[in-house]
């Protein structure tokens, strides 16, 4: 990363994305959405491996849903954050549904009932994910 001051003025600014430390590269990529990341993954092997990084997908999940759900409880660590992102973007209405009722309700029983429903949803999603992986393997 150090700038080489022996070079002439034109080449002083010779930094490129790949010169950055990996955590910086991942931080930059975390501002992309999945379709943009998918395109980026197609540029080279190195970029592809960056786009599969778990910490990258965790920060993307966290930025989008971190304030409304406990991400680490989804899938109990058995789903990669990339898959979690994909599932949550499909079913994100369910997070809103649960949250709306949790805030508005004062009834402990209702709250408990709703948290049971949520656990059920999580369980279903986990099951669905395993089915997805299984069919992927069978192909």
């Amino acid at each position: 990363m150090e700038v080489n001051c022996e070079d002439s003025d034109e080449t002083v600014f010779a930094l490129s994305f790949s010169d950055f430390p990996e955590d910086v590269q991942l931080f930059i990529l975390s501002f992309l959405d999945p379709s943009e990341l998918a395109s980026f993954a197609c540029t080279s092997k190195k970029c592809f491996s960056l786009c599969r990084d778990e910490s990258l997908w965790f920060s993307m999940c966290d930025r989008r849903w971190g304030s409304c759900t406990l991400l680490k409880r989804w899938g109990q660590g058995k789903i990669s954050y990339k898959d979690l992102y994909r599932i949550l973007s499909e079913y994100e209405n369910l997070i809103g549904f649960w949250r709306r009722y949790r805030i508005n309700t004062t009834s402990v029983n209702l709250r408990m009932a709703l948290s049971c429903i949520l656990s059920g949803v999580r369980f279903i999603l986990l099951g669905q994910e395993f089915r997805l992986q299984k069919t992927d393997l069978m192909k």
Binding site: E2, F13, L15, S18, P34, A41, C42, T43
Partner: protein, 163 residues
């Protein structure tokens, strides 16, 4: 900008860039550079602090950024007006050449200025958006090292995201 009487009241620090240019900055600016915070607080910042990874051109920009942020935050205006002002400033500040942007990002990382680092990373990400794969390759100086089969596999893995 400051008169000599003000100078004796306000603590100033000297920052030396990679190419030997010395910048005088006030404490409100210097403390935003987390990397030198300990030196400042421990009173070890004399006679000057050398910043070996930052050229004078970039350091001048970094100081301009920190100065504006320090002044806006201590200016006594309401938080929403200050926020708006910073947003406008940040947008204009990011209107620089791509190479400078990369240098700024690298400097913000090295100097540990969180807000500038996030701003530059966000801006770099926005440069990646809306560009084709070929353009991104050119921009980041990377070569396509996939075989046809491998590229197909990548597209398959991310097929859901392309929707």
């Amino acid at each position: 900008m400051s008169s000599s009487t003000e100078l004796t009241e306000k603590k100033v620090f000297l920052l030396k860039s990679l190419d030997g240019v010395i910048f005088e900055v006030e404490e409100s600016v210097a403390v935003q550079l987390e990397v030198i915070r300990e030196l400042i607080e421990g009173d070890c910042a004399r006679p000057f602090i050398s910043l070996y990874n930052v050229t004078s051109e970039i350091l001048a920009l970094v100081i301009e950024y920190c100065k504006h942020h320090a002044e806006t935050c201590s200016g006594g205006t309401s938080a929403t007006i200050a926020d708006e002002d910073l947003k406008t400033f940040d947008n204009e500040f990011m209107n620089v050449d791509e190479n400078i942007l990369l240098e700024l990002c690298s400097a913000a990382d090295y100097l540990d200025i969180k807000s500038l680092f996030e701003l530059t990373c966000r801006t770099l990400a926005s440069l990646i958006k809306d560009r084709t794969i070929i353009e991104v390759r050119k921009m980041f100086n990377v070569e396509n090292d996939f075989s046809v089969v491998e590229e197909k596999a990548v597209r398959k893995e991310f097929a859901w995201a392309f929707k």
